[in-house]
Protein backbone atom coordinates (compact mmCIF):
# COMPACT_ATOMS: atom_id res chain seq x y z
CA UNK A 1 0.00 0.00 0.00
CA UNK A 2 2.90 2.32 0.75
CA UNK A 3 4.42 1.71 -2.67
CA UNK A 4 1.05 2.43 -4.23
CA UNK A 5 0.82 5.68 -2.32
CA UNK A 6 4.20 6.82 -3.62
CA UNK A 7 3.11 5.76 -7.10
CA UNK A 8 -0.07 7.81 -6.81
CA UNK A 9 1.82 10.90 -5.69
CA UNK A 10 4.19 10.48 -8.62
CA UNK A 11 1.17 10.48 -10.93
CA UNK A 12 -0.13 13.60 -9.24
CA UNK A 13 3.22 15.29 -9.85
CA UNK A 14 2.93 14.35 -13.52
CA UNK A 15 -0.58 15.81 -13.74
CA UNK A 16 0.16 18.89 -11.67
CA UNK A 17 3.41 19.91 -13.37
CA UNK A 18 1.75 21.73 -16.30
CA UNK A 19 -0.70 23.46 -13.98
CA UNK A 20 2.22 24.55 -11.89
CA UNK A 21 3.90 26.04 -14.96
CA UNK A 22 0.71 27.95 -15.74
CA UNK A 23 0.31 29.28 -12.23
CA UNK A 24 3.94 30.40 -11.98
CA UNK A 25 4.08 32.02 -15.41
CA UNK A 26 0.62 33.54 -15.15
CA UNK A 27 0.64 34.96 -11.64
CA UNK A 28 2.81 37.95 -12.38
CA UNK A 29 1.79 41.57 -12.59
CA UNK A 30 3.18 42.01 -16.10
CA UNK A 31 1.23 38.99 -17.32
CA UNK A 32 -2.01 40.44 -15.99
CA UNK A 33 -1.17 43.84 -17.37
CA UNK A 34 -0.62 42.33 -20.81
CA UNK A 35 -3.88 40.42 -20.50
CA UNK A 36 -5.80 43.59 -19.72
CA UNK A 37 -4.29 45.30 -22.74
CA UNK A 38 -4.96 42.46 -25.15
CA UNK A 39 -8.43 43.45 -26.24
CA UNK A 40 -8.75 40.58 -28.72
CA UNK A 41 -8.24 37.96 -26.04
CA UNK A 42 -10.62 39.75 -23.69
CA UNK A 43 -13.18 39.94 -26.48
CA UNK A 44 -12.80 36.23 -27.27
CA UNK A 45 -13.12 35.42 -23.58
CA UNK A 46 -16.29 37.49 -23.35
CA UNK A 47 -17.78 35.78 -26.43
CA UNK A 48 -16.98 32.39 -24.95
CA UNK A 49 -18.63 33.28 -21.66
CA UNK A 50 -21.81 34.48 -23.37
CA UNK A 51 -21.93 31.40 -25.60
CA UNK A 52 -21.34 29.09 -22.64
CA UNK A 53 -24.04 30.79 -20.57
CA UNK A 54 -26.60 30.59 -23.38
CA UNK A 55 -25.69 26.97 -24.03
CA UNK A 56 -26.03 26.11 -20.35
CA UNK A 57 -29.48 27.71 -20.06
CA UNK A 58 -30.89 26.04 -23.18
CA UNK A 59 -29.37 22.65 -22.44
CA UNK A 60 -30.55 22.69 -18.85
CA UNK A 61 -34.14 23.68 -19.64
CA UNK A 62 -34.52 21.19 -22.50
CA UNK A 63 -32.53 18.57 -20.61
CA UNK A 64 -34.85 18.89 -17.65
CA UNK A 65 -37.89 18.40 -19.90
CA UNK A 66 -36.31 15.27 -21.36
CA UNK A 67 -35.35 13.92 -17.95
CA UNK A 68 -38.99 14.32 -16.88
CA UNK A 69 -40.30 12.65 -20.02
CA UNK A 70 -38.03 9.60 -19.90
CA UNK A 71 -39.76 7.71 -17.04
CA UNK A 72 -43.07 7.96 -18.94
CA UNK A 73 -41.72 5.55 -21.57
CA UNK A 74 -41.35 1.77 -21.33
CA UNK A 75 -37.88 0.60 -20.21
CA UNK A 76 -36.91 -0.77 -23.62
CA UNK A 77 -37.55 2.54 -25.37
CA UNK A 78 -35.87 4.39 -22.51
CA UNK A 79 -32.74 2.29 -22.99
CA UNK A 80 -32.63 3.25 -26.66
CA UNK A 81 -33.05 6.93 -25.76
CA UNK A 82 -30.28 6.81 -23.19
CA UNK A 83 -28.08 4.84 -25.55
CA UNK A 84 -28.38 7.51 -28.23
CA UNK A 85 -27.54 10.17 -25.66
CA UNK A 86 -24.35 8.31 -24.79
CA UNK A 87 -23.11 8.38 -28.38
CA UNK A 88 -21.71 11.95 -28.31
CA UNK A 89 -19.85 11.01 -25.14
CA UNK A 90 -18.08 8.04 -26.68
CA UNK A 91 -17.74 8.81 -30.38
CA UNK A 92 -14.82 10.98 -31.50
CA UNK A 93 -15.70 14.65 -31.23
CA UNK A 94 -14.26 15.41 -34.67
CA UNK A 95 -16.96 13.27 -36.31
CA UNK A 96 -19.60 15.56 -34.82
CA UNK A 97 -17.82 18.75 -35.80
CA UNK A 98 -17.60 17.63 -39.40
CA UNK A 99 -21.08 16.11 -39.57
CA UNK A 100 -22.48 19.45 -38.38
CA UNK A 101 -20.34 21.39 -40.85
CA UNK A 102 -21.76 19.35 -43.72
CA UNK A 103 -25.30 19.34 -42.34
CA UNK A 104 -25.54 23.09 -41.81
CA UNK A 105 -24.14 23.75 -45.24
CA UNK A 106 -26.78 21.46 -46.72
CA UNK A 107 -29.48 23.29 -44.76
CA UNK A 108 -28.17 26.62 -46.01
CA UNK A 109 -27.34 27.78 -42.49
CA UNK A 110 -24.45 30.21 -42.69
CA UNK A 111 -21.75 29.53 -40.09
CA UNK A 112 -22.15 31.97 -37.24
CA UNK A 113 -23.19 32.28 -33.62
CA UNK A 114 -26.42 30.40 -34.25
CA UNK A 115 -24.72 27.32 -35.67
CA UNK A 116 -22.22 27.49 -32.81
CA UNK A 117 -24.96 27.64 -30.22
CA UNK A 118 -26.82 24.78 -31.89
CA UNK A 119 -23.69 22.61 -31.92
CA UNK A 120 -22.74 23.41 -28.35
CA UNK A 121 -26.29 22.61 -27.30
CA UNK A 122 -26.05 19.31 -29.21
CA UNK A 123 -23.26 17.86 -27.10
CA UNK A 124 -23.91 19.51 -23.73
CA UNK A 125 -27.56 18.42 -23.85
CA UNK A 126 -26.52 14.75 -23.53
CA UNK A 127 -24.49 15.37 -20.39
CA UNK A 128 -27.26 17.41 -18.81
CA UNK A 129 -29.93 14.76 -19.48
CA UNK A 130 -27.72 12.01 -18.06
CA UNK A 131 -27.10 14.04 -14.90
CA UNK A 132 -30.74 15.10 -14.46
CA UNK A 133 -32.06 11.60 -15.23
CA UNK A 134 -30.67 10.41 -11.90
CA UNK A 135 -31.99 13.49 -10.08
CA UNK A 136 -35.48 12.87 -11.42
CA UNK A 137 -35.27 9.20 -10.44
CA UNK A 138 -34.51 10.23 -6.84
CA UNK A 139 -37.55 12.53 -6.52
CA UNK A 140 -39.62 11.98 -3.41
CA UNK A 141 -43.14 11.94 -4.82
CA UNK A 142 -44.86 12.19 -1.45
CA UNK A 143 -43.90 15.87 -1.43
CA UNK A 144 -45.61 16.66 -4.72
CA UNK A 145 -48.62 14.59 -3.64
CA UNK A 146 -49.04 16.59 -0.48
CA UNK A 147 -48.54 19.86 -2.40
CA UNK A 148 -51.33 18.79 -4.73
CA UNK A 149 -53.52 17.86 -1.75
CA UNK A 150 -52.89 21.32 -0.37
CA UNK A 151 -54.29 22.80 -3.56
CA UNK A 152 -51.19 23.52 -5.62
CA UNK A 153 -51.61 23.59 -9.42
CA UNK A 154 -49.17 21.74 -11.65
CA UNK A 155 -46.90 24.83 -11.84
CA UNK A 156 -47.06 25.23 -8.08
CA UNK A 157 -46.17 21.57 -7.58
CA UNK A 158 -43.23 21.91 -9.93
CA UNK A 159 -42.04 25.19 -8.44
CA UNK A 160 -42.37 24.36 -4.76
CA UNK A 161 -42.21 20.58 -4.46
CA UNK A 162 -40.09 19.35 -7.38
CA UNK A 163 -37.70 22.17 -8.23
CA UNK A 164 -36.06 22.38 -4.79
CA UNK A 165 -35.36 18.65 -4.90
CA UNK A 166 -33.91 18.89 -8.39
CA UNK A 167 -31.79 21.94 -7.68
CA UNK A 168 -28.48 20.12 -7.00
CA UNK A 169 -28.84 18.21 -10.27
CA UNK A 170 -29.80 21.33 -12.18
CA UNK A 171 -26.82 23.27 -10.85
CA UNK A 172 -24.47 20.38 -11.58
CA UNK A 173 -25.88 19.94 -15.08
CA UNK A 174 -25.75 23.63 -15.91
CA UNK A 175 -22.19 23.96 -14.63
CA UNK A 176 -21.16 20.95 -16.67
CA UNK A 177 -22.75 22.39 -19.82
CA UNK A 178 -21.12 25.75 -19.15
CA UNK A 179 -17.63 24.38 -18.70
CA UNK A 180 -17.92 21.93 -21.60
CA UNK A 181 -18.97 24.76 -23.88
CA UNK A 182 -16.25 27.07 -22.59
CA UNK A 183 -13.63 24.38 -23.15
CA UNK A 184 -14.71 23.15 -26.55
CA UNK A 185 -12.28 23.57 -29.37
CA UNK A 186 -12.85 20.89 -31.97
CA UNK A 187 -16.57 21.21 -32.73
CA UNK A 188 -16.31 25.01 -32.62
CA UNK A 189 -13.35 24.87 -34.99
CA UNK A 190 -15.46 23.20 -37.67
CA UNK A 191 -18.77 25.03 -37.35
CA UNK A 192 -17.66 28.59 -36.62
CA UNK A 193 -17.63 31.34 -39.21
CA UNK A 194 -14.73 33.71 -39.79
CA UNK A 195 -15.93 36.24 -37.25
CA UNK A 196 -16.68 33.92 -34.37
CA UNK A 197 -13.63 33.85 -32.16
CA UNK A 198 -14.17 31.85 -29.01
CA UNK A 199 -11.37 31.72 -26.50
CA UNK A 200 -10.01 28.26 -27.44
CA UNK A 201 -10.06 29.19 -31.14
CA UNK A 202 -8.30 32.47 -30.41
CA UNK A 203 -5.62 30.67 -28.40
CA UNK A 204 -5.19 28.15 -31.20
CA UNK A 205 -4.67 30.94 -33.70
CA UNK A 206 -2.12 32.63 -31.43
CA UNK A 207 -0.12 29.50 -30.83
CA UNK A 208 1.77 29.67 -34.04
CA UNK A 209 3.13 33.04 -32.96
CA UNK A 210 4.29 31.65 -29.60
CA UNK A 211 2.18 32.43 -26.60
CA UNK A 212 2.55 35.56 -24.59
CA UNK A 213 2.33 35.61 -20.78
CA UNK A 214 -1.22 36.97 -21.02
CA UNK A 215 -2.50 33.52 -21.97
CA UNK A 216 -1.07 32.13 -18.75
CA UNK A 217 -2.63 34.97 -16.78
CA UNK A 218 -5.94 34.14 -18.41
CA UNK A 219 -5.45 30.53 -17.44
CA UNK A 220 -4.97 31.60 -13.84
CA UNK A 221 -8.25 33.49 -14.07
CA UNK A 222 -10.04 30.43 -15.50
CA UNK A 223 -8.53 28.23 -12.82
CA UNK A 224 -9.64 30.64 -10.11
CA UNK A 225 -13.18 30.67 -11.51
CA UNK A 226 -13.30 26.86 -11.44
CA UNK A 227 -11.83 26.77 -7.95
CA UNK A 228 -14.33 29.28 -6.61
CA UNK A 229 -17.32 27.60 -8.24
CA UNK A 230 -16.28 24.17 -6.98
CA UNK A 231 -15.81 25.44 -3.44
CA UNK A 232 -19.08 27.34 -3.68
CA UNK A 233 -21.07 24.29 -4.81
CA UNK A 234 -19.42 22.07 -2.22
CA UNK A 235 -20.37 24.49 0.54
CA UNK A 236 -23.84 24.87 -0.89
CA UNK A 237 -24.30 21.09 -1.07
CA UNK A 238 -23.06 20.70 2.49
CA UNK A 239 -25.44 23.32 3.89
CA UNK A 240 -28.46 22.19 1.86
CA UNK A 241 -27.92 18.59 2.96
CA UNK A 242 -27.61 19.60 6.58
CA UNK A 243 -30.83 21.61 6.56
CA UNK A 244 -32.77 18.62 5.29
CA UNK A 245 -34.53 16.78 8.12
Amino acid sequence: MKALKIYFWALLAFLWAPLFVVLVKGSTLTAFEKLLHNSEVIQAFRSSLVLAAATAVISTVLGLATAFALPAFPPRLRRIFTGSLLLPLVLPEIAFGIAYLVWYQQLGLAPGWFTLLLSHFAFTFCFVVLVLKTSVAKIDHSLSDSARDLGAGSWGVFRHALLPQLMPGIVAGAMMAFSLSLDDFLITFFVKGIDQLTLPVKIYSMMHLRLGPEIYALSVVLFAISLISVIFTQLWYATSHRSRP
Binding site: L4, L19, F73, S84, L91, E93, I94, V102, L227
Partner: protein
Protein backbone atom coordinates in the same frame (compact mmCIF):
# COMPACT_ATOMS: atom_id res chain seq x y z
CA UNK B 1 -51.48 8.88 -22.89
CA UNK B 2 -49.25 10.26 -20.20
CA UNK B 3 -49.01 13.99 -20.86
CA UNK B 4 -45.42 13.91 -19.68
CA UNK B 5 -44.52 12.14 -22.91
CA UNK B 6 -44.90 15.42 -24.79
CA UNK B 7 -41.79 16.65 -22.99
CA UNK B 8 -39.77 14.23 -25.10
CA UNK B 9 -40.11 16.59 -28.10
CA UNK B 10 -36.79 18.43 -27.51
CA UNK B 11 -35.02 15.10 -27.35
CA UNK B 12 -36.78 13.89 -30.50
CA UNK B 13 -35.70 17.02 -32.35
CA UNK B 14 -32.16 16.58 -31.09
CA UNK B 15 -32.14 12.93 -32.18
CA UNK B 16 -33.38 13.73 -35.66
CA UNK B 17 -31.77 17.10 -36.34
CA UNK B 18 -28.48 16.80 -34.49
CA UNK B 19 -27.68 13.11 -34.57
CA UNK B 20 -29.53 11.08 -37.21
CA UNK B 21 -29.69 13.61 -40.06
CA UNK B 22 -26.07 14.87 -39.93
CA UNK B 23 -24.65 11.36 -39.87
CA UNK B 24 -27.01 10.09 -42.56
CA UNK B 25 -25.80 12.95 -44.69
CA UNK B 26 -22.18 11.93 -44.06
CA UNK B 27 -23.05 8.39 -45.11
CA UNK B 28 -24.76 9.66 -48.29
CA UNK B 29 -21.82 11.95 -49.07
CA UNK B 30 -19.41 9.05 -48.68
CA UNK B 31 -21.06 7.34 -51.66
CA UNK B 32 -21.01 10.48 -53.77
CA UNK B 33 -18.49 11.34 -56.43
CA UNK B 34 -16.62 14.58 -56.90
CA UNK B 35 -16.04 15.72 -60.46
CA UNK B 36 -13.15 17.79 -61.76
CA UNK B 37 -15.02 21.00 -61.05
CA UNK B 38 -15.48 19.98 -57.43
CA UNK B 39 -19.20 19.35 -57.79
CA UNK B 40 -20.78 16.45 -55.93
CA UNK B 41 -22.73 13.79 -57.76
CA UNK B 42 -24.79 11.69 -55.43
CA UNK B 43 -25.24 8.03 -56.13
CA UNK B 44 -23.80 4.74 -55.04
CA UNK B 45 -20.12 5.09 -55.84
CA UNK B 46 -17.51 3.19 -53.88
CA UNK B 47 -14.58 5.21 -55.21
CA UNK B 48 -13.95 7.03 -51.95
CA UNK B 49 -13.87 3.82 -49.95
CA UNK B 50 -11.44 2.32 -52.44
CA UNK B 51 -9.34 5.47 -52.25
CA UNK B 52 -8.99 5.06 -48.48
CA UNK B 53 -6.91 1.97 -49.14
CA UNK B 54 -4.43 3.94 -51.19
CA UNK B 55 -1.12 3.49 -49.32
CA UNK B 56 -0.85 7.28 -49.08
CA UNK B 57 -3.93 7.41 -46.85
CA UNK B 58 -3.83 3.92 -45.44
CA UNK B 59 -0.56 4.57 -43.62
CA UNK B 60 -2.28 7.47 -41.82
CA UNK B 61 -4.99 5.16 -40.54
CA UNK B 62 -2.50 2.50 -39.49
CA UNK B 63 -0.46 5.10 -37.63
CA UNK B 64 -3.60 6.36 -35.91
CA UNK B 65 -4.63 2.83 -34.91
CA UNK B 66 -1.17 2.12 -33.56
CA UNK B 67 -1.10 5.35 -31.59
CA UNK B 68 -4.61 4.84 -30.15
CA UNK B 69 -3.87 1.23 -29.20
CA UNK B 70 -0.56 1.98 -27.51
CA UNK B 71 -2.08 4.99 -25.77
CA UNK B 72 -5.04 2.97 -24.45
CA UNK B 73 -2.87 0.11 -23.18
CA UNK B 74 -0.46 2.55 -21.55
CA UNK B 75 -3.24 4.61 -19.99
CA UNK B 76 -4.96 1.54 -18.55
CA UNK B 77 -1.70 0.14 -17.21
CA UNK B 78 -0.95 3.43 -15.46
CA UNK B 79 -4.52 4.00 -14.28
CA UNK B 80 -5.21 0.54 -12.86
CA UNK B 81 -2.82 0.65 -9.88
CA UNK B 82 -3.90 4.22 -9.15
CA UNK B 83 -7.56 3.19 -9.14
CA UNK B 84 -6.71 0.18 -6.97
CA UNK B 85 -4.95 2.45 -4.48
CA UNK B 86 -8.03 4.70 -4.32
CA UNK B 87 -10.39 1.74 -3.96
CA UNK B 88 -8.66 0.52 -0.80
CA UNK B 89 -8.98 3.88 0.95
CA UNK B 90 -11.86 5.00 3.15
CA UNK B 91 -14.42 6.91 1.08
CA UNK B 92 -13.50 10.34 2.40
CA UNK B 93 -9.81 9.90 1.82
CA UNK B 94 -10.46 8.54 -1.66
CA UNK B 95 -12.57 11.61 -2.45
CA UNK B 96 -9.66 13.81 -1.35
CA UNK B 97 -7.20 12.02 -3.64
CA UNK B 98 -9.70 12.03 -6.50
CA UNK B 99 -10.05 15.79 -6.18
CA UNK B 100 -6.26 16.14 -6.32
CA UNK B 101 -6.36 14.08 -9.49
CA UNK B 102 -8.99 16.28 -11.11
CA UNK B 103 -7.86 19.78 -10.07
CA UNK B 104 -5.31 20.11 -12.91
CA UNK B 105 -8.22 19.79 -15.33
CA UNK B 106 -9.97 22.87 -14.05
CA UNK B 107 -8.43 25.09 -16.61
CA UNK B 108 -8.80 25.38 -20.35
CA UNK B 109 -7.91 22.26 -22.35
CA UNK B 110 -5.82 24.12 -24.89
CA UNK B 111 -3.87 26.04 -22.27
CA UNK B 112 -3.30 22.86 -20.34
CA UNK B 113 -1.90 21.22 -23.41
CA UNK B 114 0.40 24.17 -24.09
CA UNK B 115 1.61 24.10 -20.52
CA UNK B 116 2.24 20.39 -20.85
CA UNK B 117 4.36 21.14 -23.90
CA UNK B 118 6.31 23.68 -21.84
CA UNK B 119 7.11 20.83 -19.48
CA UNK B 120 8.08 18.54 -22.37
CA UNK B 121 10.44 21.21 -23.70
CA UNK B 122 12.41 20.98 -20.46
CA UNK B 123 13.39 17.50 -21.70
CA UNK B 124 12.43 15.46 -18.62
CA UNK B 125 14.68 12.40 -18.11
CA UNK B 126 17.09 13.89 -20.62
CA UNK B 127 14.98 12.84 -23.57
CA UNK B 128 13.65 14.90 -26.44
CA UNK B 129 9.83 14.76 -26.27
CA UNK B 130 8.39 17.40 -28.57
CA UNK B 131 7.72 16.38 -32.17
CA UNK B 132 8.24 12.75 -31.15
CA UNK B 133 5.88 9.79 -31.10
CA UNK B 134 6.52 9.13 -27.40
CA UNK B 135 5.74 12.79 -26.73
CA UNK B 136 2.31 12.27 -28.28
CA UNK B 137 1.79 9.22 -26.07
CA UNK B 138 2.82 11.19 -22.98
CA UNK B 139 0.38 13.98 -23.80
CA UNK B 140 -2.39 11.47 -24.48
CA UNK B 141 -1.71 9.81 -21.13
CA UNK B 142 -1.76 13.17 -19.42
CA UNK B 143 -5.06 14.10 -20.99
CA UNK B 144 -6.95 10.81 -20.64
CA UNK B 145 -5.66 9.47 -17.32
CA UNK B 146 -8.52 10.74 -15.11
CA UNK B 147 -11.09 9.37 -17.59
CA UNK B 148 -9.56 5.95 -17.05
CA UNK B 149 -9.04 6.20 -13.30
CA UNK B 150 -12.65 7.18 -12.49
CA UNK B 151 -14.48 4.16 -14.02
CA UNK B 152 -11.76 1.76 -12.87
CA UNK B 153 -12.04 3.15 -9.36
CA UNK B 154 -15.81 2.61 -9.28
CA UNK B 155 -15.28 -0.96 -10.51
CA UNK B 156 -12.47 -1.83 -8.11
CA UNK B 157 -14.30 -0.25 -5.22
CA UNK B 158 -16.83 -3.08 -5.52
CA UNK B 159 -14.17 -5.72 -4.87
CA UNK B 160 -14.26 -6.27 -1.09
CA UNK B 161 -10.93 -6.19 0.70
CA UNK B 162 -11.96 -9.43 2.41
CA UNK B 163 -11.78 -11.26 -0.92
CA UNK B 164 -8.22 -10.08 -1.47
CA UNK B 165 -7.24 -10.89 2.10
CA UNK B 166 -8.79 -14.35 1.81
CA UNK B 167 -6.77 -15.02 -1.33
CA UNK B 168 -3.61 -13.84 0.42
CA UNK B 169 -4.34 -15.96 3.48
CA UNK B 170 -4.63 -18.94 1.20
CA UNK B 171 -1.13 -18.23 0.00
CA UNK B 172 -1.79 -16.35 -3.22
CA UNK B 173 1.10 -14.21 -4.39
CA UNK B 174 0.53 -10.62 -5.44
CA UNK B 175 0.55 -11.68 -9.04
CA UNK B 176 -1.99 -14.42 -8.34
CA UNK B 177 -4.23 -11.90 -6.57
CA UNK B 178 -4.08 -9.70 -9.63
CA UNK B 179 -4.60 -12.40 -12.24
CA UNK B 180 -6.98 -14.71 -10.37
CA UNK B 181 -9.01 -12.28 -8.27
CA UNK B 182 -8.90 -8.67 -9.47
CA UNK B 183 -8.71 -9.26 -13.20
CA UNK B 184 -11.70 -11.67 -13.44
CA UNK B 185 -13.77 -9.36 -11.26
CA UNK B 186 -13.00 -6.22 -13.27
CA UNK B 187 -12.56 -7.54 -16.80
CA UNK B 188 -15.71 -5.96 -18.14
CA UNK B 189 -15.23 -2.47 -16.72
CA UNK B 190 -11.64 -2.61 -17.95
CA UNK B 191 -12.92 -3.36 -21.47
CA UNK B 192 -15.40 -0.51 -21.24
CA UNK B 193 -12.68 1.83 -19.98
CA UNK B 194 -10.41 0.74 -22.79
CA UNK B 195 -13.02 1.80 -25.35
CA UNK B 196 -13.65 5.01 -23.44
CA UNK B 197 -10.05 6.09 -24.05
CA UNK B 198 -9.50 4.25 -27.35
CA UNK B 199 -12.40 5.55 -29.48
CA UNK B 200 -11.89 9.28 -28.79
CA UNK B 201 -8.16 8.80 -29.39
CA UNK B 202 -8.88 7.68 -32.96
CA UNK B 203 -10.20 11.16 -33.71
CA UNK B 204 -7.72 13.10 -31.61
CA UNK B 205 -6.73 16.27 -33.42
CA UNK B 206 -4.85 18.71 -31.22
CA UNK B 207 -2.26 16.46 -29.57
CA UNK B 208 -0.75 15.04 -32.79
CA UNK B 209 -0.78 18.52 -34.33
CA UNK B 210 0.73 20.38 -31.37
CA UNK B 211 2.95 17.82 -29.65
CA UNK B 212 3.70 15.83 -32.79
CA UNK B 213 4.38 18.99 -34.72
CA UNK B 214 2.07 17.84 -37.48
CA UNK B 215 4.81 16.25 -39.58
CA UNK B 216 3.20 12.84 -39.31
CA UNK B 217 -0.45 12.85 -40.23
CA UNK B 218 -3.10 11.26 -38.07
CA UNK B 219 -6.77 10.74 -38.80
CA UNK B 220 -7.74 14.08 -37.24
CA UNK B 221 -5.49 16.12 -39.50
CA UNK B 222 -6.49 14.03 -42.49
CA UNK B 223 -10.16 14.82 -41.85
CA UNK B 224 -9.47 18.50 -41.27
CA UNK B 225 -7.64 18.65 -44.58
CA UNK B 226 -10.32 16.80 -46.54
CA UNK B 227 -13.08 19.05 -45.26
CA UNK B 228 -11.46 22.43 -44.75
CA UNK B 229 -8.66 22.50 -47.34
CA UNK B 230 -9.43 20.17 -50.25
CA UNK B 231 -13.17 20.12 -49.70
CA UNK B 232 -13.19 16.48 -50.71
CA UNK B 233 -16.37 15.55 -48.89
CA UNK B 234 -16.77 12.02 -50.28
CA UNK B 235 -13.29 10.90 -49.21
CA UNK B 236 -13.57 12.52 -45.76
CA UNK B 237 -17.09 11.19 -45.31
CA UNK B 238 -16.00 7.67 -46.17
CA UNK B 239 -13.34 7.87 -43.46
CA UNK B 240 -15.85 9.19 -40.91
CA UNK B 241 -18.39 6.53 -41.85
CA UNK B 242 -15.85 3.78 -41.30
CA UNK B 243 -14.67 5.39 -38.05
CA UNK B 244 -18.21 5.65 -36.66
CA UNK B 245 -19.06 2.14 -37.85
CA UNK B 246 -15.94 0.74 -36.20
CA UNK B 247 -16.72 2.60 -32.98
CA UNK B 248 -20.34 1.46 -32.86
CA UNK B 249 -19.37 -2.16 -33.59
CA UNK B 250 -16.86 -2.09 -30.76
CA UNK B 251 -19.41 -0.53 -28.42
CA UNK B 252 -22.07 -3.10 -29.32
CA UNK B 253 -19.52 -5.86 -28.97
CA UNK B 254 -18.84 -4.78 -25.42
CA UNK B 255 -22.36 -3.44 -24.94
CA UNK B 256 -22.92 -5.53 -21.86
CA UNK B 257 -19.81 -4.18 -20.27
CA UNK B 258 -20.86 -0.65 -21.05
CA UNK B 259 -24.35 -1.10 -19.66
CA UNK B 260 -22.81 -2.33 -16.45
CA UNK B 261 -20.51 0.64 -16.45
CA UNK B 262 -23.43 2.99 -16.76
CA UNK B 263 -25.23 1.25 -13.92
CA UNK B 264 -22.20 1.75 -11.76
CA UNK B 265 -21.92 5.39 -12.65
CA UNK B 266 -25.51 6.15 -11.72
Amino acid sequence: MDRRRLLIIPYALWLLGLLAAPFTLILIASFAQKDDLGLLHYGLHFDSYAQLFDPLYFQIFLRTLLMATLHSVLTLLVAYPAAFFLSRLPRKEAAFYLTLLLVPFWTNYLIRLLAFMDVLRLQPFGIEWTFQFHGILAAMLYNYLPFAVLPLYSALEKVPSSVIEAAQDLGASRRKVLTKVLWPMTRRPVTATFLLVFIPALGEFLIPVLVGGGQNFYLGSFLQQQFLTFRNWPLGSAAISLLVLLAILMLLFSGKALAEEEEMAT
